[in-house]
C-alpha cells in the first residue's frame, strides 16, 4: 500500500476500534468492505411505499376473513369463538402501521366488521360488543407492544419484542374481553352470567389469536421474501416443511385421509416449528405457526381428538393449552435462537473486523502480556522482526531477543512490566537476524480475557534514522569545513535581517567565540567602503544576479582593518524575489600585502634598473660633454697659431653647439624616464582610447602612405591611467609607422586590434607589415637607449614597458603573421567589473 493508503488504513483501524461509522476510502473498500460495511440496522418495520388505500384494503380483507372465520367457528362450539382473529388482525395492522396511518385502517376494520356481522345475523348488541372488543384489542395490544418495545426496532427475532407481544396480547385480550362482557351485559344483561362465565375462554381465544396472527403480519411485513437469502439446503428444508404441513393439513381436513393415525399426530408440527424457527427465520415460522394453529382449531371444531371438547363444552382447554404451549415455546425459542444467532453473527463479524484490522495494520502490532509473553502478532510485525507468527506466538520477549538491552528501563520488557503507556518512543530493537533496528514504539495496556497485557506497535524508522545520520554527517562536514577554512560564512535573511555568522571565521579577526546568531557583519565594513559595497549589492539584487563579489576592508576586533574579498550568493524564492544572502568572506590581507610587496619590489628592481639606467645615462651624456671639452681645447690651440684658421674654428663652434643640444635632448628624455609617473587609476574604455589615438595618428599615417586597419572587440572597462596608456599606444603606432617607412608603398599596413581574451585580460595589438624584429633582439628593444633609428633616443619602448608594468600588465613583441612586428599589450580588467 502506498503511504496514503497506509494512512487511510490507520484511520480505519482507529475508527474501527472506536466503533465509529466509517467513510471508506475506495482503495480499502475492496479489502474490507464485507466485514466493515455497517450492518444493516435491525430493519424498522417498513411501511411499504404503496398508496395509502392498499393497506386499508388489506386490513378490510383480513378483518372480514377473520370475522367470518370466527363466526364460522363460533356456531359450532360456543357463542365465544375459540380464536378471535379479527381483533388480532387489527392488532397486527396497527402494530405495523405508524400511528399516522391508523385512521383509514380503523375505518376499514369497522366497515369489515359490519359487513361480516350484517351477514351473520348475530344480534346487534353482540355485534357492537364485538366491535368494541376488537377495536380495544387492536388498540390496546399495539399500544402496549409499542410502549414495551420503545427504543428498539420491533422484530420478531428479538426476545424483548416477543415478550412485549405476549404481554400486549394478554393485556389486549383481558381488556377487550372485559369491555365486551361489560358492554353485552350492559345491553343484554339477562345473559350476563353466561357471558361472564365464558370470559376466560374468550380471553384465551383472543390472546392466542394475537399470538398466532400478529407475528405473521409483523414478520412478513419486515421480510417479505426471506427465501432470497437462502442457500440450497435451506430451500430444500423449506420445501420439506411446506410439504409436511400441507400433508398435515390434508390429513386434518379430510377425515378419511388418516383413519388409523392417532390424532396425537397433530403434535408432530411442534418440532417442525422449532426447526423452522432455527433454520428458516421468523417469517416462515410465524406463518407455519399460524397454519398449525388454524389446523388445530379446525380439528377441534370438527370434533377431532384430543381437541374435541370433552368435559365442559365451553372450555376447549386442551386446544388452548396446546396452542398456548406451541405458540409460546415457538415464539420464545425462536426469538432466543434468533438473538443468539445474530449475536454470533455479530461476534463473528466483529471478530473478523478486528482480525483484519489487526493483521492488515500497516504498523507492526503485537499483543504481549505484562510478563512478556506474546499473545498475537500481525504480519507486519513478523516482517519487521523476522520471527514467523507461529514462532513468536507464545514465546517471550526475552526468548525472541527483541530488546537490545533487557536491563534498560526503557526496554520493551521493562515497559511491559510497568504497564506503561507509551505514545512515541524512539528506541532500538533487535530482529531475528540480530540486526539492530531503529523504531518508534507505542504501547497501551489493556485487559484481554481478564489478563493484563499491552498492545505494542512499532514503526520502522530506519530510513529516517539513516537520513538523520546523513544529515548529521553532512552537518558535521559543514562544520569541519567552516572550522578548517578561515573564511567567515554568513547567512542573512533579507526580510528579517537576522544573520547567522560562523564564529570560527570571525575569530580570526579577533572576535570572541560565541553564539552564531544575531551578529551583523555590516557595521564592521570600513566606512569609506560602505557606500560602494551597499551600492554593488543592491544593484546585484535588483538586476537579479545570483552572485556578487566585492572587495572591502573589515574592521578587526583590535580596530585595525583587514582587506577582505566577499563572494555573496543571493537566494531567491519561487517568485524571483531575493530572500536570503549567503556569503563567504575571505581575508586577503596577506595577499594584499604580498601584492604591495611585489609592487614595491618591482619598483625597487626598477630602481636597480634605474641604477643601471643612470649609469648608461651618465655614459650617454658623457660622450657629447667629452667632445665639447676636447673641441674647446682644440679651439684654444688653434687660436694660439699665428693665423688661426677661422673656418675650422667655426666648425668647432658648430660641433660644440650640436653636442650641447644633444645633451639637452638626453636630459629631457631622462627626465621623462625618471619622473615618478603619477598615475591616476580609473576605469576607462580601451576602444574609446584607441579611437582618440587614431584621431591623432591617422593623418600622420595617411601622409606617410600607410593603411591603418582596426578590429576592436567588445571590451569590459579597464582600470588604469588613460593618458599614459594613450602615450603607449601612440608610441607603438608611431614606431609602426617608422618601421614601414622603408617598405614599398603597397605593403605599408598597420593593424590595431583589441580583444578580451580571458576573464580578466584585455589585449591591444599593434602590428605592422615591416621587417619585423629579430628573435635575438626581442628583449633588448625594451631596454633604455636602444634604438636603430638615426634620430630618437630609444626610450619609447622602455617607457612603454614601465607604464604597462605599473598597470599590472605586460608588453611583448612577436612576429606578425605575414611579416612584420606585432606588439601585444595586455592589461587587467577592472576587478569591480569582472563578470
Amino acid at each position: 500500500m502506498s503511504i496514503d493508503e497506509k494512512v487511510d488504513a490507520r484511520v480505519c483501524f482507529a475508527a474501527v476500534l472506536q466503533r465509529e461509522p466509517l467513510a471508506m476510502p475506495p482503495s480499502l473498500s475492496s479489502h474490507l468492505a464485507d466485514d466493515l460495511a455497517p450492518r444493516e440496522a435491525a430493519t424498522p418495520l417498513r411501511w411499504p411505499p404503496v398508496p395509502a388505500f392498499v393497506p386499508a384494503l388489506l386490513v378490510f380483507a383480513g378483518y372480514y376473513a377473520g370475522a367470518c372465520l370466527g363466526l364460522a367457528l363460533t356456531t359450532v362450539m360456543s357463542p365465544a369463538s375459540v380464536l378471535w382473529v379479527p381483533g388480532a388482525v387489527l392488532f397486527g395492522a396497527l402494530l405495523v402501521a405508524p400511528p399516522q396511518r391508523w385512521a383509514p385502517l380503523l375505518a376499514a376494520a369497522i366497515a369489515a366488521h359490519f359487513a361480516a356481522a350484517w351477514q351473520s345475523g348475530v344480534p346487534d348488541a353482540i355485534v357492537i360488543g364485538c366491535l368494541v372488543s376488537n377495536l380495544a384489542q387492536g388498540l390496546m395490544g399495539s399500544l402496549v407492544v409499542r410502549r414495551l418495545s420503545a427504543g428498539h426496532p420491533y422484530s420478531i427475532g428479538s426476545l424483548r419484542c416477543v415478550v412485549a407481544l405476549i404481554v400486549g396480547a394478554v393485556v389486549a385480550a383481558v381488556g377487550s374481553s372485559l369491555l365486551n362482557s361489560a358492554f353485552v351485559t350492559a345491553v343484554e344483561w339477562k345473559s350476563a352470567g353466561r357471558i361472564w362465565a365464558g370470559w376466560p375462554s374468550r380471553m384465551f381465544a383472543s390472546t392466542l389469536a394475537s399470538l398466532a396472527v400478529v407475528p405473521v403480519l409483523t414478520a412478513w411485513s419486515a421480510e417479505r421474501a426471506p427465501w432470497r437469502s437462502w442457500d440450497l439446503p435451506r430451500r430444500f428444508e423449506a420445501v420439506l416443511l411446506t410439504l409436511v404441513l400441507a400433508g398435515l393439513g390434508y390429513g386434518v381436513v379430510d377425515p378419511n385421509a388418516l383413519p388409523q393415525v392417532p390424532s396425537a399426530l397433530l403434535y408432530l408440527p411442534f418440532p417442525l416449528l422449532l426447526w423452522s424457527a432455527m433454520r428458516l427465520g421468523p417469517a416462515p415460522t410465524a406463518a407455519s405457526l399460524a397454519f398449525v394453529s388454524l389446523l388445530a382449531v379446525w380439528g377441534a371444531a370438527h370434533g377431532m381428538r384430543p381437541f374435541a371438547p370433552g368435559i365442559g363444552a365451553d372450555s376447549p382447554l386442551t386446544l388452548h393449552l396446546f396452542l398456548a404451549c406451541t405458540a409460546l415455546s415457538v415464539l420464545i425459542l425462536g426469538a432466543v435462537f434468533a438473538e443468539r444467532q445474530e449475536a454470533m453473527v455479530n461476534l463473528g463479524r466483529s471478530q473478523r473486523r478486528f482480525a483484519r484490522a489487526f493483521h492488515a495494520n500497516p504498523n507492526a502490532v503485537s499483543m504481549i502480556t505484562s510478563d512478556g509473553r506474546v499473545i498475537d502478532v500481525n504480519e507486519r510485525w513478523s516482517r519487521l522482526f523476522g520471527h514467523a507468527p507461529e514462532h513468536a506466538l507464545g514465546a517471550t520477549v526475552e526468548s525472541l531477543g527483541l530488546d537490545v538491552d533487557p536491563a534498560d528501563p526503557a526496554s520493551i520488557r521493562s515497559r511491559l512490566a510497568g504497564a506503561a503507556i507509551e505514545e512515541h518512543r524512539e528506541m532500538r530493537v533487535r530482529d531475528a537476524a540480530g540486526r539492530i533496528r531503529d523504531v518508534v514504539m507505542a504501547m497501551t495496556p489493556t485487559r484481554i480475557d481478564g489478563e493484563l497485557c499491552s498492545i505494542v506497535s512499532f514503526v520502522d524508522i530506519g530510513d529516517r534514522v539513516e537520513a538523520e545520520k546523513a544529515l548529521r554527517a553532512s552537518d558535521q562536514r559543514f562544520r569541519f569545513v567552516l572550522e578548517a577554512t578561515r573564511d567567515v560564512v554568513y547567512d542573512r535573511d533579507l526580510a528579517t535581517g537576522s544573520t547567522w555568522v560562523s564564529r570560527n571565521g570571525l575569530a580570526q579577526f579577533g572576535y570572541a567565540q560565541g553564539t552564531n546568531d544575531g551578529v551583523d557583519l555590516r557595521p564592521l565594513v570600513h566606512p569609506d567602503d560602505w557606500a560602494r559595497v551597499t551600492t554593488r549589492f543592491t544593484a546585484a539584487v535588483r538586476v537579479g544576479s545570483v552572485t556578487c563579489e566585492t572587495d572591502y576592508r573589515l574592521r578587526r576586533a583590535d580596530g585595525s582593518y583587514a582587506h577582505v574579498h566577499e563572494q555573496a550568493f543571493v537566494v531567491a524564492d519561487g517568485d524571483g524575489r531575493a530572500r536570503r544572502v549567503i556569503g563567504v568572506v575571505t581575508d586577503i590581507t596577506e595577499q594584499h600585502q604580498r601584492e604591495e610587496l611585489a609592487r614595491r619590489l618591482s619598483q625597487a628592481s626598477r630602481l636597480t634598473a634605474m641604477g643601471e639606467l643612470a649609469a648608461s645615462i651618465a655614459h650617454e651624456i658623457n660622450q657629447p660633454v667629452s667632445a665639447i671639452l676636447t673641441n674647446v681645447d682644440a679651439a684654444e690651440m688653434l687660436l694660439q697659431e699665428a693665423a688661426p684658421p677661422l673656418d675650422e674654428l667655426r666648425d668647432v663652434l658648430a660641433d660644440i653647439r650640436s653636442d650641447d643640444l644633444r645633451v639637452t635632448d638626453i636630459i629631457r628624455h631622462v627626465r621623462a624616464l625618471a619622473t615618478k609617473r603619477v598615475m591616476h587609476f580609473e576605469p576607462f574604455d580601451v576602444n574609446t582610447l584607441i579611437g582618440s589615438v587614431l584621431r591623432l595618428a591617422t593623418p600622420v599615417a595617411q601622409r606617410r602612405g600607410v593603411r591603418v586597419e582596426t578590429a576592436l572587440a567588445a571590451l569590459p572597462p579597464v582600470r588604469g591611467d588613460r593618458i599614459h596608456i594613450q602615450q603607449v599606444v601612440l608610441n607603438l603606432l608611431l614606431n609602426g609607422l617608422d618601421a614601414l617607412d622603408e617598405m614599398p608603398e603597397a605593403e605599408r599596413r598597420l593593424r590595431i586590434a583589441t580583444a578580451h581574451d580571458e576573464r580578466d585580460r584585455v589585449e591591444i595589438v599593434v602590428a605592422d607589415s615591416g621587417r619585423g624584429v629579430d628573435a635575438s633582439r626581442r628583449e633588448a628593444i625594451f631596454e633604455s637607449f636602444h634604438t636603430t633609428k638615426k634620430e630618437g633616443m630609444g626610450l619609447g619602448l622602455s617607457i612603454a614597458r614601465s607604464v604597462v608594468q605599473q598597470h599590472g600588465g605586460s608588453i611583448r613583441v612577436e612576429d606578425n603573421a605575414g611579416g612584420g612586428a606585432l606588439f601585444r599589450v595586455t592589461l587587467r580588467v577592472s576587478p569591480d567589473e569582472s563578470r
Binding site: 649609469a615 657629447p624 667629452s626 667632445a627 676636447t630 681645447d633 660641433d655 644633444r662
Partner: protein, 206 residues
C-alpha cells in the same frame, strides 16, 4: 724614424668625440687617423699598421681592450685608452697589459696630449727596437754553424784558447772565425758581441 710624425690611430665610435679628438691631435701636430670601430681599423689599417693608438674602450663589436689584446699578441703596441665609464679594475689590467695610459672622458687636453706624446715615443722606440732586432737576426742568419758556435762561446767570455779546445779547432782557426763573426755581426768589441748575443737570446734565436 723616417716618418716625420708617427701616426696616431683614433678608434672611437661616438662621432662627436672622435671628430673632436682627431681635431685636437692634428692641431697638436700629430697625424691622427679616425676609425669608428675596431673592425674598421683592422680593415683599413691592418694588423701591422705602425703608429700608436687612442682606443675607446666601449666600441661596438670588438671592444678596445680586446683589440689591444689581439694586437699585442703580435708585437708591442703603444695604446692610450679612453673610456666613458671609469672602471678601476679595467684600467689596472690594461696598464698591466702594457697600455701607455688609461684616461677618463671628458679628458683634459694636457693629459691627452701628454699620453699621446709618450705613446708616439714608445712607438718609435718600439719600432727602433724592432728594426734592430730584424737587423740582428739578418746578421745572425749569415753566420755559419761554426761561426755561431764561436759567437756563442765568445759571448760567454771564453778565451780563444778555450774556444779552440771546445770547438776542436786550432787557435788560428778560432781567431779567424772570431774575426768573421765580428765582421758579420758588425761588432767592434767583444762587448758588442755580448750585447748582440743577449739581444738574440731575448729574441729566442740563440
Amino acid at each position: 724614424m723616417d716618418e716625420a710624425k708617427a701616426v696616431v690611430h683614433v678608434v672611437e665610435d661616438d662621432d662627436s668625440v672622435r671628430t673632436a679628438v682627431v681635431r685636437l691631435l692634428r692641431t697638436a701636430g700629430f697625424q691622427a687617423q679616425p676609425y669608428a670601430s675596431a673592425a674598421e681599423f683592422l680593415l683599413v689599417a691592418g694588423e701591422n699598421a705602425g703608429g700608436c693608438m687612442v682606443l675607446d674602450v666601449g666600441l661596438p663589436g670588438m671592444s678596445g681592450i680586446e683589440l689591444h689584446a689581439a694586437l699585442a699578441k703580435r708585437r708591442d703596441c703603444s695604446v692610450v685608452f679612453l673610456t666613458g665609464r671609469g672602471d678601476v679594475q679595467m684600467s689596472v689590467r690594461a696598464m698591466k697589459d702594457g697600455a701607455v695610459d688609461f684616461l677618463d672622458k671628458p679628458v683634459k687636453r694636457e693629459l691627452l696630449l701628454d699620453a699621446v706624446t709618450r705613446a708616439v715615443e714608445r712607438d718609435v722606440a718600439n719600432r727602433e727596437r724592432r728594426g734592430r732586432a730584424t737587423e740582428l737576426r739578418a746578421r745572425y742568419e749569415q753566420l755559419t754553424e761554426r761561426e755561431r758556435q764561436v759567437f756563442r762561446l765568445v759571448a760567454e767570455g771564453r778565451l780563444n784558447k778555450q774556444i779552440a779546445d771546445v770547438v776542436g779547432a786550432s787557435l788560428r782557426t778560432v781567431k779567424s772565425h772570431r774575426a768573421r763573426v765580428m765582421e758579420k755581426m758588425q761588432a767592434t768589441t767583444a762587448a758588442d758581441l755580448v750585447r748582440a748575443a743577449d739581444e738574440l737570446n731575448r729574441l729566442g734565436l740563440h
